[in-house]
């Protein structure tokens, strides 16, 4: 097992490569997901306000068509 991790003496280079890549990819993904979640929460709040403010007129939809 330790042989696997030492990679013939080059373990530090190899694991650093894989580790950094994994880290960067995960950080990018998590940052995106977090941003997405917070933006979704904010948007849902705003959309709720929009729906409540929405004028109830059927005429408008006819016009929209």
């Amino acid at each position: 097992m330790s042989e696997f991790f030492s990679m013939g003496g080059y373990g530090s280079y190899i694991w650093a490569s894989y580790g950094l890549t994994a880290l960067a990819m995960i950080v990018l993904l998590i940052a995106t997901l977090r941003g997405l979640r917070s933006s979704r929460i904010e948007r849902d709040q705003l959309e709720a306000v929009l729906q409540s403010r929405r004028p109830r007129r059927t005429k408008k939809t006819q016009k929209a068509s």
């Binding site: 929009l50 403010r53 929405r54 004028p55 408008k60 939809t61 929209a64 068509s65």
Partner: protein
């Protein structure tokens, strides 16, 4: 007889809806005065008319032809006066004006510049460099620019800013002469400019509250989806 018209214009700046569903029409000799509170889109409309901005929807037409089809022709017949005077501090008044005349290919340019300077009573400043001009004199120089070269449409964005009362009267006079020659003037102003019988276009009338606009967009989308869904089902059957 020229005819300048816009139909069902919608203007968006970034995510902001400035105005929607705006239509207007002006014939030779007409003056259109733009009114509205700050942010109602007076400048935006003038920039649309000049061709600096593209409308989100709707069309602007000159004699029935869309201005987007032949921009060079539209630019050739239009004089636009924006908020800024476009005066270089190191060039003389005459040199400043000369460039714009040359770009329009005005024949006998020096005489045309003389006429324009005389019309605005700044001929004595023709050799003064821009940096020594007062703001009113700069504004007059900018106004002199729109007198150089033939044009059929003036788009004046707050032309009276920086002008004193006499100058405003002169400007009104120039506008009257231009209309008499068959030109179309569209202008916005905060003070009363003594223009005879202008058509008033109140941009506040075309301000769609964005709440409604956004809701309406949802409706259009929902409807489009509703229409799409059954048709695809039919196709499947």
């Amino acid at each position: 007889m020229a005819d300048f018209s816009g139909s069902d214009l919608t203007c968006l700046r970034g995510e902001r809806l400035v105005f929607g569903g705006l239509s207007f029409s002006a014939k030779s000799g007409d003056a259109v005065m733009l009114r509205g509170r700050n942010g109602a889109g007076k400048s935006s409309l003038l920039r649309l008319m000049a061709g600096l901005l593209a409308p989100r929807s709707g069309a602007l037409c000159w004699n029935g032809e869309s201005i987007a089809d032949d921009r060079a022709a539209h630019h050739a017949r239009t004089h636009y006066l924006g908020h800024q005077d476009a005066i270089k501090p190191v060039l003389t008044v005459r040199d400043n004006l000369r460039l714009w005349g040359q770009l329009r290919g005005v024949p006998d340019l020096e005489a045309a510049i003389d006429r324009a300077l005389n019309a605005l009573q700044i001929h004595h400043l023709s050799r003064v460099t821009g940096r020594y001009l007062s703001s009113g004199q700069k504004r007059r120089t900018a106004l002199a620019r729109i007198l150089i070269g033939e044009s059929h449409l003036w788009l004046l964005d707050e032309p009276t800013v920086g002008l004193d009362r006499e100058s405003c009267a002169e400007l009104a006079q120039l506008i009257a002469e231009f209309r008499a020659r068959g030109g179309v003037v569209v202008y916005s102003t905060h003070i009363d400019l003594d223009v005879e019988n202008p058509t008033i276009l109140d941009l506040d009338d075309f301000a769609i509250p964005m709440v409604e606009w956004l809701a309406e967009q949802d409706d259009i989308e929902d409807m489009a989806q509703a229409m799409r869904a059954p048709s695809s089902q039919e196709a499947a059957q």
